[in-house]
């Protein structure tokens, strides 16, 4: 009877990392893993700051931060137990939930989405609609906001090609436009001597929370105190980082030498306003409102990414 | 029109006015990679229209000699001269395997040499049909090589060699891979063709019986490097048939050849 044994073995293998983290209680506090959805960059600055300034430790957590890259399956890893905390976009969260991944958001770094479209300023575009009319546009296939833009503007005149994660093509082709994270690609292009002009997707009416920390719902139910600790530490970490990012930037730069120190600094500076909102001022950095999640759910249903807008109460849980 | 095998055996050509060329080999030398000479200063003379067997142990260099005569190989010393027909002498070669082109049928295979020389389709096919009829394959012209037996394939190879009406026919142990019965039948067929067409035939073999049966003259070689250790005119009737193989005279000639072979260190 080898097959059942093999299946049990595989199941244990999958559960093992989660088990190990759950059970361990080192002198420094509970040991958890935070998995990022990109390489260490200023968009995660607050979390690294929380670790570096001892913020996590003060709240009784030992956090291992795992950087990612293109295509890291953050939601799958959190849902599968390989990581307790993960970073994702709000639309990813709702999409994953619709496919059966039971993860819930607890903290939203960016109150305004840093997603944007970067075009050549020399073209003289006035609105994003202009950009979409001609030339080449590089967007990851399947991105919800691409569907949103298509719905808003109708058939796009520009040819849509896959996004390869850099600015090489942008520098070479004057009719080229591409998706960007407002704190990343435009800065890289400007440094190389390009003339990027950024149109925020948020300005078009599609503004999901970004840099959202997610946890598995069942894990939240079992460890509410760790979740609370994380949120508090993250809030402190981001406050510290936005005030003075230099030390944390050094740490991240060592992990990600591809981005130079100067860009780290300018990106951190650009991020600051995106983390601000009325709600964040009132309730603290990273807090979220029901209404915005509801709006997002409706928008995703309208473009067909999910079949119907999910009930907000299913996932928008009051924090412990 | 095609002349079938004469039942009386009377040749269509007298030996004297044969079409074949005279082959003259002088001080021939061929050395191979290791520096070991395979042929070292060989002299040989073959009369026009004669049927000569080259007999010797395996690896002695008789195949190399044949290739040098054919022009498929170049000597390191000495000369090979073909005298006879006023035009450039036509040489044909039959290998140990039939080596037919598997994607062509019998007729197209037989016609190949003429095709390569630029003869047009109708003419070359006509010649091929004649040659195939000479070897008794008139019915098999549309077949592909894989549909033929070993003996039939060898006969196609023979027809291919004869299609250009060569002056010199060189055969390198052509029937060695065939069974006894087929071999004897092909021996008869070859000899009959020689009698009728009157060309020069040089036939390499390591079979004493075959040499004795087929040839008028047998040149016996020693082991490498090849040296002539025997050159016998075979005193046997011009008419060859199966009965001859059990004749006393045949056995005597065969023994003489075997003795020569042994002396050569076979």
């Amino acid at each position: 009877m080898r097959l059942p044994g093999l299946l049990v073995f595989c199941a244990l293998l999958g559960a093992a990392p989660g088990c190990a983290k759950k059970g361990q209680n080192s002198p420094a506090g509970a040991s958890v893993v935070l998995v990022l959805d990109w390489v260490p960059e200023p968009e995660f600055g607050g979390f690294y700051a929380a670790r570096e300034t001892g913020g996590f430790a003060r709240h009784g957590l030992t956090v291992e931060i795992r950087g990612g890259g293109a295509g890291v399956p953050v939601v799958q890893m959190v849902a599968g137990g390989q990581a307790q905390f993960g970073i994702a976009g709000a639309d990813e969260v709702l999409t994953a939930r619709a496919r059966g991944a039971d993860v819930v958001p607890i903290f939203a770094t960016f109150q305004t989405s840093p997603q944007g479209i970067m075009a050549h300023a020399a073209r003289g575009y006035r609105t994003l609609g202009d950009v979409l009319k001609s030339g080449t546009l590089a967007i990851e296939p399947g991105l919800p906001y691409a569907l949103f833009l298509k719905k808003k503007y109708g058939a796009l005149g520009a040819r849509i090609v896959p996004y390869d994660g850099g600015v090489a093509r942008f520098m070479v082709d004057p009719t080229f436009a591409q998706q960007c994270f407002v704190t990343a690609e435009p800065l890289a292009a400007r440094k190389k001597g390009g003339d990027p002009q950024v149109f925020l997707v948020a300005d078009e009416g599609y503004d999901p929370y970004t840099g959202v920390v997610i946890v598995k719902r069942t894990w939240l139910a079992e460890h509410p105190e760790q979740v609370k600790a994380f949120v508090l530490a993250a809030r402190e970490g981001w406050t510290a980082y936005l005030a003075d990012p230099s030390a944390t930037n050094l740490v991240m730069h060592k992990l990600n030498p591809a981005m130079d120190a100067e860009t780290f600094a300018s990106a951190a500076a650009a991020e600051e306003q995106l983390t601000r909102s009325e709600d964040a001022k009132a309730h603290g950095l990273g807090s979220m409102t029901r209404e915005r999640w509801e709006t997002l759910g409706v928008q995703l249903a309208e473009v067909g990414v999910v079949d119907r807008a999910p009930a907000v109460g299913d996932y928008f849980l009051p924090l412990p | 029109m095609v002349a079938t095998e004469p039942s009386t055996g009377a040749p269509l050509h007298a030996v004297g006015d044969a079409r074949g060329v005279r082959v003259h080999v002088e001080h021939l030398r061929r050395v191979f990679a290791m520096g070991m000479p395979v042929i070292d200063g060989l002299d040989l003379d073959i009369a026009a229209g004669s049927f000569v067997a080259l007999l010797g142990p395996s690896g002695c260099g008789k195949s190399t000699l044949l290739r040098l005569v054919a022009g498929l190989d170049r000597p390191d010393g000495g000369t090979v001269t073909l005298e006879g027909a006023p035009r450039h002498a036509r040489v044909a070669f039959v290998f140990q395997d039939a080596h037919l082109l598997p994607w062509r049928n019998v007729l197209e295979n037989a016609a190949l040499p003429l095709e390569l020389s630029g003869v047009d389709g109708a003419a070359r096919r006509g010649e091929a049909r004649r040659a195939l009829a000479d070897v008794g394959l008139a019915e098999a012209m549309g077949k592909l090589p894989h549909e033929l037996s070993g003996g039939m394939r060898m006969r196609v190879s023979l027809a291919r060699a004869l299609v250009t009406r060569p002056d010199l026919l060189l055969l390198d142990e052509p029937f060695a891979a065939l069974d006894e019965m087929t071999r004897q039948r092909l021996d008869d067929q070859l000899r009959a063709l020689w009698v009728r067409l009157g060309l020069t035939v040089i036939f390499v073999t390591h079979s004493v019986d075959e040499a004795a049966y087929l040839a008028e003259r047998a040149v016996v070689f020693s082991a490498r490097p090849a040296r002539v250790v025997g050159d016998l005119a075979l005193d046997l009737p011009r008419e060859r048939n199966a009965a001859l193989r059990t004749d006393a005279a045949f056995a005597k000639e065969a023994r003489a050849l075997r003795d020569a072979l042994e002396r050569g260190g076979a």
Binding site: L7, V75, Q76, A79, G80, T95, A96, A98, R99, G100, A101, T136, I139, E140, P141, G142, L143, P144, A146, L156, R159, I160, V161, P162, D164, A168, R169, V172, V305 | R67, A70, G71, L72, V91, A92, F93, F95, D97, H99, L101, P102, W103, L112, P113, E115, L116, S117, L144, P145, H146, T164
Partner: protein, 262 residues
């Protein structure tokens, strides 16, 4: 009747695999985004059939063009390489490079040079599939029996005659083998090319569909797209096989056995 009987074992195996898969997913309650059951995949294929078929046709075009390029350029290259041993020794290692270079790495370069779209995708399909054609065609040409070469030389055949009447027909069985391998590789090359260079809207091929369904966690649609990609590869492979059969069955042992079996 015999054709049906020979199809039975693989069809039965497929039925068993599908049944076990469906059962396991249901029993173990595997989430949809991780491993969808065959029923979900079939449903996704049914509802998305229009998109899948369109995408498959786009990929098929690029794969076919790339394959044809490989067939022609590959064969010509083999002929050139066979002309001299020195040339072969000098250039062959670089053709091996075509085999070993990771296409995922140079695909972005292709976009930079050719621009996104059918051209870059076709070139990607070509690069991935050309080496087996060159290698096999060259081996086929080199495998000509020396005695046949002697024969051609004896009768004064020109280089061209030797190439067309002896070397090419001799090399055909090897070439067909190389083309069989190239067929599947051309589809892979096209899809990888699309990952980087495909057009994302209606002009996108299966590569784009795979990327976007992955991004939206539509794992069932992703599986359906992968299935269509495999079918495409199988179709092209089958076409090459059929062509090879017609070209060779008259005289080549391998094709003849197939004929005899039926």
């Amino acid at each position: 009747m015999r054709v049906l009987r020979s199809l039975m074992p693989p069809v039965l195996a497929l039925v068993v695999i599908v049944a076990v898969w469906e059962a396991l997913v249901r029993v173990l309650d595997v989430p949809l985004y991780l491993l969808p059951p065959p029923s979900a995949i079939a449903r996704a294929a049914a509802t998305g059939l229009g998109d899948l078929a369109l995408a498959a046709s786009v990929t098929a075009r690029a794969a076919l063009y790339g394959f044809l390029l490989s067939a022609v350029i590959g064969t010509l290259s083999a002929i050139v390489l066979s002309a001299s041993r020195v040339l072969e020794r000098a250039l062959y290692p670089y053709t091996v490079f075509l085999q070993t270079v990771p296409i995922v790495a140079i695909a972005p370069l292709l976009v930079l040079w050719f621009g996104a779209g059918m051209r870059a995708v076709t070139v990607s399909a070509f690069i991935v599939s050309v080496f087996p054609v060159i290698a096999n065609a060259l081996a086929g040409i080199r495998s000509v029996e020396p005695a046949l070469r002697d024969l051609f030389r004896l009768y004064g055949a020109s280089r061209f005659a030797t190439l067309t009447k002896l070397e090419m027909p001799s090399a055909l069985p090897s070439l067909v083998t190389g083309l069989r391998v190239a067929a599947g590789l051309a589809v892979i090359g096209a899809i990888v090319g699309e990952f980087v260079a495909g057009f994302s809207d209606s002009g996108g091929g299966l590569g784009i569909l795979i990327l976007s369904s992955y991004r939206q966690l539509r794992t069932d649609l992703l599986f359906a797209a992968v299935f269509f990609a495999s079918m495409l590869g199988l179709l092209l492979f089958g076409l090459v096989n059929l062509t090879g059969y017609f070209l060779l069955s008259r005289w080549h042992p391998s094709a003849r056995e197939t004929r005899a079996a039926h």
